[in-house]
Every structure is written in C-alpha cells, then in structure tokens.
Assembly symmetry: D2
Homo-oligomer: 486 residues x 4
C-alpha cells in the first residue's frame, strides 16, 4: 500500500533541495526554517490522518488506474460520489487543522488537466493522456504531494500574454528540443510549493493563436534546476520567528512566489504544448474544481470559527445570550451554504469523455461567491462575539515576566474555573484565524476573484431559457428579437 | 394506473361542496369563482404534467406500498434519491407555474406524520401506522390532492395552548366517542384548502401533558361537516375580479383560513390522540421537510424572476449592460444557494425507524433562511433592473380604450421589434411576482419564521464539538467548565 | 397671508377640469373618484397642517421674494437652514400621512430650475429668471400645488432623444410662434398630477446640440388643452374601489402618466427653450434635491414602519422579545442613516450664483442609495416581526357577515385587551405599507435608479485626491501616470 | 499662544518616565522603542498640523474658559458647530495619518465628565466642576495630550463590579485620606497611553449603590507611581521591529493595558468619588461622543481605503472598469453614511446644564453601527479590488537581495510607467490598513460593541410614539394595553 506516514513524508522532504529565499536570505534546509515548519506540519498531518481510522475513510480511496488504495489527493474524480467524498474530506481536514493543508491545488489540477489532455488527444492525435496517466500513477505509487502552478504574475491586466511589453509576464516556452522544453516566467501565490514534491503547471487563462507558446502544461519537481521559491510574507510573521503567541499552535499556511528561470522539462512530463484551445478549459475546470474544494475546507474552518467564538463567549461569562446565539446561527448559515452548494455541485456533476466528472459550475461558483463576500461577515461576527481583546493582548513573553506576569494573570481572568492562559489562547486563535492574510485573502481571491465567479455563473446559466419561462407565464407569444442577455 | 388527468381533477372538484366564504359572501360553486379558478388551474397543471413526458419523470414515482406508479405528491420519502427527486420536481413545476401549486404541504405532512406514528406505535402499542398507511394508499389509488393543516391561529403567542384564555385558539379534541373524535379550532394560511380533496391536520407545535387534547393528528375531507373555509384576501384581488392585468395569465395561489366548528373525525382517520410527546417532532419534521421543499420551488420561481428581469432589460434596450449582468448573477447566487442546500440536505438525510428518510435539518433550515432574508433582495433587484414601470402602468382597459389606447401603445413602446403589449405584459408579470402578498409573505413565514430556522440550525449543530475543535487548535488541554452554549 | 385651508384647496380643485382616464374610462369629476380621493386627502392634509401650530413651524416659511409667510413647498432653498427645514418638514408629514403627499417634486423642481435659468441668463442674456420668479410668486401668492414633470417615457434606453425612431419618446417642441411654443410627448410616473394646479416640466436628462428641441422647460396648468392624465394602476386597487380593507384609512398615493398632445405654452411660462447645455444640470439638480427630500419622508415613513411592527408584536403577545428588539434597532439604523445623510447634505450645501443653495451630491445620493437597497430590508423586517397574517387575512366584509363574523372575531384575537378589529387593522396597515407598488417602487426608482446614484457619488468624489492620500502614506513619491479612475 | 510644536511635544515626552513593558521586557526610553515610535509620530503629526494653515483651521479653537487659542483636543463642546468642527477635524487628520492619532478618547472624556460633574454639583453640592475646569485649563495652557481610561478588564461579564470574585476586576478606590484616594485595577485597550501626558479615568459602566467605590473619576499623569503600561501586541509587529514592509511608512496605533497598582490621586484631581448615579451617564456620554468621533476619523480612513484601492486598480491596468467603479461607489456609500450621521448628530445635539452640548444618541450610534458592521465590507472590497497580492508579497529585504531582487522587480511589475516598488508599496499599505488588528477590531469594538449601539438606539427612540403614529393611520382609536416595547 503506497501510503506514506507523516514521518516518511518529513523524511522525503530531506531529499529535496529547492532554491528558496526567505525575507531576503537564501535558506538551505528550508523545511526546518521556523517560517516553514508550521506549514510542513499541516501537510504532515494529512499523512498522519491517512493512518487514522476515521481519517482513512476520508483520505484513502481505490485508484481507478491501479486498483490500489491511494491518497485521494492524487486521484481522478470518476463519480459524483468521488466529488462528495472530496468535499467531506476537506471539511474533515480543515476541522482538524484549522486552515489550509496545501494539497488540494494539485488534486484539482490533476482532474482539470486529465479532462483536457484526453480531449486534445481525441482531436489532435497527441499522446498526452498516456503520459499524464503515467505521471498520476507515479504520484499515487509514491504518495507524492503535488501542488499546482496556475497563477501567473500577469503584468498589465488589460493586456493578453502576447501583448505584454515584457513577454515573460506569463510563463511560456522559450525553447524546444528533442528532449523537452525550456520554460520561463513566474507563478505567484503558490500554495505549499515548498511542502510539495512536484508542481503541476497549468496555463492561467484562455489563450489565442498568438499566445501559443503560453499554452503550456507540464510537471516539474519543486527543486528542478532554475526553479526559485521566494517566500511571500504574511501578517503574523513575528509569532513564528519568536515561537510564541502562535494562536494555532501547530499549523499554518504559506504561498511562495515561484520563478521559472529557464527551467527544462522533459517531454514525458509535458502535457500541453501549443494546443491553445485547451488552455481556457483547463483553467476553467481548475477554477470550478477549486471553488468546489473551498466549499469543503472553508466549512470546516467555519466550524472552528464558530467553536472559537462560542468558547470565547463562554470564557467571558456570556453563555446562552440571545444575540450571541443568533450570531452563531448566522455564522453557520453561511458556512453551511458554502458546504451545501459544493455537495450539490457534486450531485449535479457531468461525465466528460475522459471518464472524469466535472462539477456543476453554477453551484460551485455560487459556493465560492458566498465565501468571497459573506464569509467575511462570519469572521467579523466571530470578532464581535469574542470582544475587543482580539486586538491587542500582551504577549506570552509578558506572562512569563516575573514582575507583570502575575498581574496579567490576575487581570485577564474571565469566568471562574477557566485559567487565564486558556482564555488568552482562544483570543490568540481568533486573532490567527481572522488576521492571517494568506487565509483571509484566499477567501476572496483563492480560485479566482468574485467577479470571475459571477461571470461564470452567468455564462453557465441559460438566461435565454429563463426568459422563455417568464414570457410564457406573462402570455407573450413570440420570443421577441433574437438578442441574448449573456 | 391511478394518475388523474387535469380534466378528471377538475371533474372531481365538482363532487366536493365545501362551505366557503369570499369577501363576505357564502359562495356555492367555489371552484368556479374568479378568485379561485386561477388557483385550481395551478393544481390542474400538475395533473396535466403527470402525463407529459418530461413532467412524468419528475411527478410520477413507484409506490413503496403498492408497487404502482403514483403521484410523487402522495408518496413517502424512502431514500435520499426520493428527496432529491422531490426538490427537482418542485423546481420544475415552479418554473412552469411561476409560483405555488399548493400540493407540497400535504406531501411533506405525509412523511412527517408517518415517521412519528411509527415511533408512537413502537412505544405505546397504538395502531396508527396501519391506519395511516391505509390513508396514504387511498390517496395514492385515487390520486387525491391532500393539503396539510398545520398553523393554528395561536392567540397570545406568549402562552401555551392550555394557557390561553379561549381554549379554542389551538385546535383540540372537544369530544370522543366510540366512533371517533370531535375537534374545534381554526387553522390559518391553509394553502390550497379549496383545491384539495383531503386535509391532513397536524399539531402546530410541541405539546406538554397539560396540552394533551391539543396533540391531535387526523385527516378530513375538505367539505366535511363543520369545516368552513374563509378566503383571505391578498394584494391583487381586483385583477382577477376584473379579469385583466393578471401578470401571470393562468396561475395564482391562495391560502384560506379554515375553521373547525366541532368537526367529527372517525377513528380510522385519527393518527394521534393525546400522545403529546410526538406532536413536537411531527411539526418539526414538517418544518424541516417544508423548508427543504421551498429550496426547490423558490429556485424555480427564481428562474422566472431572472428571466423576467432579463426580458424587461432587453425590452428596455439595455441588453448586456455590465451592472445588470452583475445583478442577474447575484440573483442566481441566492436562488442557486437555496436549491443547493436543499439538494445537500437530501444527500445528508437519515433513515428513521419507519423507513422514511428525514432531511438534514441544518442544511434545510439554511436553505430557508436564505429564502427568508436574502431572497427579498432578489425581488428588489428584479424591480431595480426592470425599472419604475413596475409601479403603475395603465390598465389593459386603458389600452382597449379607442381614444387613449393608441397613445399608450405609442408612448409605452420600448425597443424596435417588440410590441408594446408584450413589454407591458412583462411588467405586469414582474408586478405579480413582486407584489402578490401570499407569495412574498410565504417566502418569509412559510414553513416557520426565520427565527425558528436560526434556532433549528443552532440546536442541530453540535456547538460543543466545534468548541473542542477550537480548543484543540489553540492548545487548550482541558475542556473548561461543563457549560454548553446551546 | 396666502395660505389655503384644506377646504379651500378642495374647493380650488373643483375649478380644474383635467382630461383623465381611469381603468379605461374617461372620468369627469376626477377628484371625487374613489381611486383619487385618498390621494387628494393626502395633499389636503398638508394644507390642514399649515394651520396647525406644530405643523406651521415646519410648513410655513418667509418668502425671499415677497417677505410674506408662504408654503415651504413653493419656496426657493436659500440657506442650509432652509434645506434642513425641508428635510424635517418632510419627515414630520410622512409620520402623519404614512406615505407620499405628492408636493415635493414641484418644490424640488422650483429650486432646480431657478439655479439654471439664472446661469442661462448670465451666459445667453435670456430673461428666464424674471419670468420664472413671476411664476414662483404666483404659486406663493395663490398657495398653489405644483407638481414636476420630469420622467419621459424614453423608448429605447440605448438611444438619445434625437436618435429614437419615434421622435416623440421624449417631450419636445414641435412648433413655435410669437405667442409661445407647442409641445408633444409623454411623462410617466407623474406623482400627484391630478392633485396639482400646475405642472413644472423639466428635461429628463442632459441634452446635446442635436437634442435642442428637447431642451425645454415650462409650466402648464394640469388641465391645459391637450394634457391627458392616464391613471396608472397600483397593487391595491380593489380596496379603494370597494371602500374596505384600506390599511391606511385616509391617505394614499398615485402617479399618472401624462400625455402632452400638442400642448400650447405661452412664452411667459417658458423657462428654457433650446439652451441644451442647462438641461443636464437642471435634472441633476432635481435628482440631488429629490434624493435629499426622500431622506426626510422615508425616515418619517420608517417611523411608521417601526411603530406598526412594534404594535403588531405587542398585539401578538411578543412584547420585549430580544430578537424583535434587535430587528427594531436595525430598522431604525437604516431609516436614521437615510435621514442623517440628508441633514448632512444640507449642512454641506453650496451657494449657487442665483442665491439658491445646492445640496451636497455625495451625501444626498448616499442617502438615496440606502433607500434604494437597504430600506427594502426594513420592510422585510417589519413583515418578519408582524408574522404571516400580513399575507391573507379575511376581508372587513367577512367580519361583517353575521355567520362567520363572530367566528373570525373569536379566532383572530391576539392578546387580551386588544379588540380583534384593531389587530386586523394593524396587519392591514402593514400590508398597505409593504405592498403598495407605487410606494415600494418609488423607494428604488424615485429620483433616479440606484445605478445613477452610484455614478453620481463617484463623479462627485474626488478619487484622484484620495489616491494622493494613499500614495503619500505608502511612501510613493511621484503620482504615477496621469490616468484618472473616474 | 499655548500651542506646542511637534518638536516641543517630542521633547515633552522625554520628561515622562512611565513604567512600560513590551513583549516581556521592561523598557526605559519607551518613546524611542521601534514599536512605539510610529505611534508617537502619529501624535506628533497632530501638533505639526496645528501650525499648518489648513490644519490650524481644524485643530485650533478659541477656549471658552480662557479666550485663548487652544487645541480643539482639550476643549469642551459648547455648540453644535463645535461638534461639527470636531468631526471635520478628525476626518482631516485621518486622511493625513491613515489611521488613529490617539487624542480623541481624552477629548471625548473631557466633555463627558464635564456634563456630569456639573450635574453632580447641582444635586450634591460637591465642588467637582471647579476642580475639573482647572484641570482642563491646565491641559489647554500646556497643550497636553490627555488619554481617557475607560475600559476595565471586567472579569466575568455576567457579574456586576461588586459581585466579582476578585474585587479588582473593575478599578476602584481602596483607600481614602485627607490628601486623596488610592485606586487599584486595570484598564485595557488604552489607546495611546504611552503618547499621552495625562490619563482621565472614567467608570466603564453604570454603577449601583453596592458599586459605590467603583464610581470613581480622576486624572493622573501617565507616569504616576504605580501605573504600569503593558504593550498589547498587534498583528504586524515584525514589520516595525525589522523596520521594513511597513505599509504606512510613518504612522501606527497601539493601545496598552494599563495597570493601577495602588495609585495615589490627590483630591484636586478627583472628579467623582462614590456618587454612583453619575457613573452610567458619564460613560454613556463618552460612548455617544466617541461613536460620533469615529464618524469623522473612519470616513477619513475610508478616503484612504478608496484611494488605495483605486491606485492598486490603476497599477494593475484596470482603470475605469465598470465593476470596480461600482465597488468604489459602494465603499464611499458606507464611509459617507458614517460621516453624514455624525454631522447630523451634531446638528441635532442638545445643550446640557453645564453648557456643554451632547450629541444625538440615535444618530451617533447609527453611525457607529455602520462602522461596526458595514465598514468591514468596505475593507473586503478594497482587497477584492486590489487583488491577491495583498496576501503575500515578498519582503523589501528580498527586493534588496542582489540575486532575486532584479527578478522580483521584473516579475512584480504592473502597468508601464509605474515602478514595481510603488506597486508593492500600495499593496503593503492595503495590507496595513486591512490587517492591523488594533484598527480593525476598533472598528467593531471601539466605543462599545454593536449590541450596545443597537440598544442605545432603541432606548433613545421613542417607540411608543411611533406606535401611536401607526395606530392613528390604521384607524385604531384607543392605544391598547399600557405596555411598552422598549
């Protein structure tokens, strides 16, 4: 059975030697760096849970390719049940980790790419599907962590890739030879890139003929020559650097910028090279899958938000207060809707020619739109319930100081029976949940921005048929001029 | 096959002779009254669609009791798929009817009652289940329309049934003899009571020992002796009375008040009589099922709202305008979330001892909460998109006037190629959708009020387990004092 | 003192003989028609209050033109205090009338026109100001009701006036001679046109050279030859026609369509004729003033909404319930913000060359935006608090029926001590408030649509200066490329 | 003229020697500490602007006590114009500083205390007013920075001060002698305590007879013996400690916890001692004034939020995009409403017996409620407009690294003509604005929590009179049972 333990995963990282920079310094054993170790701990926890009885139910699945038990994180979605199982797994993990565990981007990319390379082979007679299946089998057999590489730096947003003044603002092929291709560019917000073994690179948008060299999909090891990871700093850096006031005492998330400085990729790992008409669908598949994933993990995080708020209220002496109960219900309303729409998007999924199931785009984007806007209000309500102490409690170091520690312990006490330290811990957790920029911004922009979700909903809703419903009920006979809304 | 045609349904109404009052008058052939005929047309349309190829897929199901093809409206929910099929059927019908078709209250009551009479038999050795199954079989065999009787008039809301000054403010048993029971009271908002053959009466709230006589469940024909239907007036009465400016040219909804003036019910139609501990679960089941139903029908209505708004925009010359597209997407966001949560509540349903499946209460109440609050904004956006003409266009009668008709036709024209009459029709439809009090108030209060939904979500969410998730991540060892939030 | 009594106002209407159509019929003594009499009652009430000690404080002001005490409804705004006094007067009246009293459109048009005719005279040497002041003096001396005529029917919204296929889709001058002009077109949503003595017609949008003949401003008596009023039907027509179930027992609002069938206007009442560059500012002034007016009246209506909801709760037995109190506070939040922004828009007003003060456009449009969107939620909360009875209570006629009247009286009782009739009355009032299409649509579209308000806010906020604030704080030295956001 | 320059202010801090702890260490020259210097810079900027021509208009006012030009920050509010001037001053300062400048709590406390000590003298014959006026004169003459001390640590929120297990959970008098009083307790969230010269301590809630010793109001120097300041850590500590990636390159805010370890206060600085009935009004005055202050400063910050978002859009190449313009307008809507309600609360202020004007509580609390809830959406929209780069851009230190610096400079470029560094600066500013916990939590909890604001609105709105309005319009004669909603 190819399932790694957490220890084996940590061991496997030792053999990787990525080029990495953190706050201006080149860092050698990057996985041990205090700003990275809480991230690798999140990923390690997913391996640990593969071996836990309840966790295994969520995390382990039968491979359609090999018949073996493999990690669900490297498996194609081959049924509506697979998609439901994914959502439930992500909810379960987020409940346990309290945030991102950085393995879904790769999972979602695998099915996104699979669908389109199959389609491409059908039309162009290419052999991408076989190559790609081999890559997925390897990932399954070695229980690898794969991250995706989707978001280019993009330069001037008003211009297409081939129109940019600097041609490298979108990743592209700069050379081809008999052995493979050479690529150049930069991907930003690369969730978990330093915790992954491989990176599956996908075009970030639809491409036209002129953008041919930008229509490139491939896989590379995260420490391939020319790959440079630059740590992007988040809001709560000092805590990890000082090893105190962490909030979430074990886990965190990060998303480096990854620069491709003329990186060579052998043909066996190239899954699209110039067939530009598949770039758009690839990334749209990815977007829809990834918004569907958020429906699971953000509902799981939502349970932590609700639990943290309820605990703070209890510690403050405000148990079973009417307006707090109303707010808890409103918090649940949003997180359950996010979850419910992802479950429904699974049920209403459709089978593609590759055998992989695609989620319903209207429902998955609806889920993400609630995350993008309404979930912010859930965080606000958590802070409102918890109280002003989220803003500025003294540090653990102050509590350790012999002169003021006892005074702080005395004065920051809440209800009887709860140690002051526990009360402080719950405020720190709330601070971490509400103010970790990588998480909060991901709620809004992860898997595309709200405006993209709106347009995806509109394009996938048959507005013309809805107009016919209305006209029929209004008693309008003809269908008016042939003009479409969308 | 026991499936009625629309004609057979209309025929069947002729043999019913309910006591009915409309705007102060006793009305004899009530089904022909202009204020009722559009309602019976809605119900008749459901029978028509049972015989339509696409409609039949939604409306006809195999009976678990007889193996026959029966109407899904009188069938127990015996699987998650049954619950999904229900939601999809209701969406389909609402798309075609543009509003309520008044058959779901009975459908939801049938499974609600089924679960609890089975439970009651198990504990008390009563024989309600057999009686009730016989009733359901009859409804299936004769393809009957059953409406439920849930909402009592309630008097002083701060008092329980047995505490009311007037003991009749909740329906109760005032006599029992060897043949049956005699009941007195009044039920309000009885959706479609004059279009139904039978009424299945369910207690409106949980009961205690002192309220024993109020814990009564039974079925009566809608024209049983002592049953009085009083039409409750809605906002757009004049239109139907004058047969013009209807908006929805065929269908409408109503919900009379039904007074039980010492009505006799034979024992074979009595399904609960004093076993007060089942009253609460019966109505809670009903509430959860009915909120789940709304997820289907209100999404279907939502498609009509979107279609009507998009048509009005087109007719105004405002096709493909950015802010209108954004609003259409936001409208879809809400209606799809309502739908998605109902689909998910089906998937996460649980089997009860009776074999009937109960929906997930958190997800079904989440769906309804969005209907109760956010759906109002969808209606507002429809009006915002359509424009001020929703307020006050001249009447069809003005268009028919030879002096001003041509002037109106000239001046109320929109874009070229669309007759003025069609433009007016779409505004009238929007007015009917937005201002029919029976529909709009039902969005808020149908199936219970938003505050009930919030409390149902809270009670069915394990807040304590969520607190444990938060404490674990915060590094809090013990679980604090034994105090629960909910 | 030129202040009419209510009786004198009613008397003055008798001498007007407008051509009016209601539901397809030509109506002679239109002010006595049951669909109009509640509207004239609203206006009459404003005259009554001019003679009430508290009312006079709000309604009567010193004329800057004559020094006499005149109605504030026909006075220029010549100071910030004048603008504050207007907002407070409108709030006071709406509290007493529960809705629209149909005199503000004229009041707002008077100052809007005044500013621009003064400007026009300065530039073009025209003599409009003197003419216009004469008109205003007449209105003051005779205490006339003036309504404005702003909103054209507009045809295809994507086209300018001169581009329309039918040139009459915007009102325009079709002939000119030594005595005056002849105009043709139609104005829609003409609030209170049949309760007014004069109509002050204003262009509905900015105009260009090609639209010269559409840049026309003038005053006509409401019964001038060629003026045709067509009643636009609202939602609750049956109530007034049957004289029962009125909700608001005295007052209501309407807004006919007014057709100008080649109407002659003598030069002394023409205030703009072809100076197209003033059309846009005239209507923008009007929009900003009228949004400012709504800040007063809708806050006053808001007090009625809050009072009605609180009364219904009390009658239901739900006094001092936590979640209801929260909702009442939220209702007040919105209505007070609408009011507060109008007060602030008065304080931040600016003096124009004419001496008339213009309101701050950002604050007045902010006020209206809250009315356009958030106020809908206030109505929804009122219904949520009141309960489902808003949907469908039996008619007064049912209560009068000897057979069921006593049963209804018994069963629709709320708390002890409150007659059932009073409980029904409060539900009827809530229905009238929430479902009168003319009021609700006016919340959204009256004084322009929300999208207009947003664009007005944006254009009047100096975004470039705000960018400089941000750049300065971020430490950005230069100001980047010379590109503006708005 | 008693107006300090910025240099004189900085000099004046040198003579203060507060006992201060930062992240566990006792710090001697605290004003130079990197975590404090950006805070003192904010305060110093207010002194600088007192000497700037535009700034002086806002910041300098004539003292009612001495007739001298004094800082508005230490002046009583003695007219509606004073209150308007305050709001405008705070808006102006926030536009320039981009956040809190930590002088309003003292300003608001001065008038809050003034009103009540005057009232107390009237009733009890005490001599607090004279003492207090002396204190204010001193503050004016020496141009002192006064911060308020309001928020106690509170312990178990369900218990009153005298019911707490530990009597020190609210600050109280533990000893009295002929020279003065000795106080013990702790105040939390003491905005700017280490930048102030004096602290004006006010009870945090209403008190009853049993809480007599907690009804204490007095002033102490911030370095009085026994006063201990403990720095409460915020989210972005590392930036200031590393002196890079600051976002706001000059200014920041903090709010230490201040412990009173048996601090002696001479009688001449004691302004309330046991007259418990004034404690509640004192803090309610403070709350209403401080919510009114937020209306100014948060609107000023709002201008920076809008400017930052618009700049980011421009730098991204997304100038004049429809959905971004709509969002900018929505951002302005909220911030202008916050401002507008504060201006209106000034106009509707009332004179108290002391001559000090109290703001309208409904309007000031409405303003703050929008800040507490809707302002969060403004921040979210800023992030939505700016894009994902807010989450995790590399550090200034990475840009300085010779190996990757040039690559970052290349790849993080936006539109032509804007240096990459400027683009990064604007994202850093947005991060600082959105993720500085002290600011964001203050939006919600500063000046009391939203639930407090709701209850304040409700208690100060005459619900009974609103019920009478509704009853009158509904035609209800009597006023029902004598029961009040609020």
């Amino acid at each position: 059975m190819p399932l790694k333990t957490a220890k084996q995963y940590m061991k496997s990282l030792e053999s990787l030697h990525p080029v990495a920079y953190i706050l201006g310094d080149r860092v050698e054993n990057v996985h041990e760096h205090p700003l990275i170790s809480h991230m690798t701990a999140s990923v390690a926890r997913t391996f640990e849970l593969e071996h836990d009885p309840e966790g295994a139910k969520h995390l382990v699945a039968k491979s359609d390719l090999t018949g073996q038990d493999v990690s669900r994180f490297v498996k194609f979605y081959t049924s509506p049940d697979d998609l439901i199982a994914k959502v439930r797994m992500l909810k379960f993990l987020a409940q346990n980790i309290g945030g991102c565990y950085m393995r879904c981007t790769g999972m979602d990319a695998i099915s996104s790419v699979g669908i389109e390379v199959f389609n491409c082979d059908q039309k162009h007679g290419t052999k991408y599907w076989e190559r790609f299946v081999n890559f997925v089998k390897t990932a399954q057999d070695q229980d690898l962590v794969v991250c995706s590489g989707v978001t280019d730096v993009k330069g001037d947003r008003a211009k297409r890739p081939s129109q940019q003044k600097d041609p490298d603002m979108y990743l592209h092929v700069v050379d081809r030879n008999k052995d493979g291709i050479v690529v150049r560019g930069a991907k930003i917000h690369q969730t978990g890139s330093l915790c992954a073994h491989w990176m599956l690179v996908v075009p970030t948008r639809e491409m036209r003929a002129a953008d041919k060299d930008y229509a490139s999909c491939f896989a590379v090891p995260t420490d391939a020559e020319g790959v440079i990871h630059v740590y992007g700093r988040g809001t709560l850096e000092a805590r990890a650097l000082q090893n105190c006031d962490l909030g979430n005492v074990r886990y965190s998330k990060f998303a480096p910028m990854v620069i491709f400085k003329d990186v060579f990729v052998p043909w066996e790992r190239v899954f699209l090279d110039g067939e530009f008409e598949y770039a758009g669908d690839m990334v749209r598949n990815f977007g829809n899958y990834h918004r569907h994933s958020h429906g699971g993990c953000k509902c799981g995080v939502g349970d932590v938000l609700v639990g943290a708020a309820a605990t703070a209220a209890e510690y403050n002496g405000l148990n079973d207060v009417s307006h707090i109960n109303t707010k808890l219900a409103e918090m649940l309303k949003v997180t359950e809707a996010i979850y419910g729409c992802s479950i429904a998007a699974s049920i209403e999924s459709t089978k593609t020619p590759s055998g992989i199931y695609n989620v319903d785009p209207v429902l998955s984007n609806t889920s993400k739109l609630y995350e993008g806007k309404e979930l912010a209000e859930v965080y606000r309500m958590m802070i409102e319930i918890a109280g002003g102490m989220v803003a500025d409690i003294p540090s653990d170091r102050d509590f350790a100081n012999p002169e003021i520690g006892p005074l702080l312990d005395k004065y920051l006490k809440g209800i009887d029976g709860v140690p002051t330290g526990d009360r402080v811990r719950i405020f720190r957790l709330i601070e971490k949940l509400a103010f970790e920029s990588r998480d909060i911004v991901s709620n809004i922009h992860g898997g595309g921005s709200p405006e993209t979700h709106r347009m995806t909903i509109l394009r996938n809703s048959d507005i013309e048929s809805k107009k016919r419903l209305a006209k029929n009920l209004a008693g309008i006979k003809d269908n008016g001029p042939k003009q479409a809304v969308s």
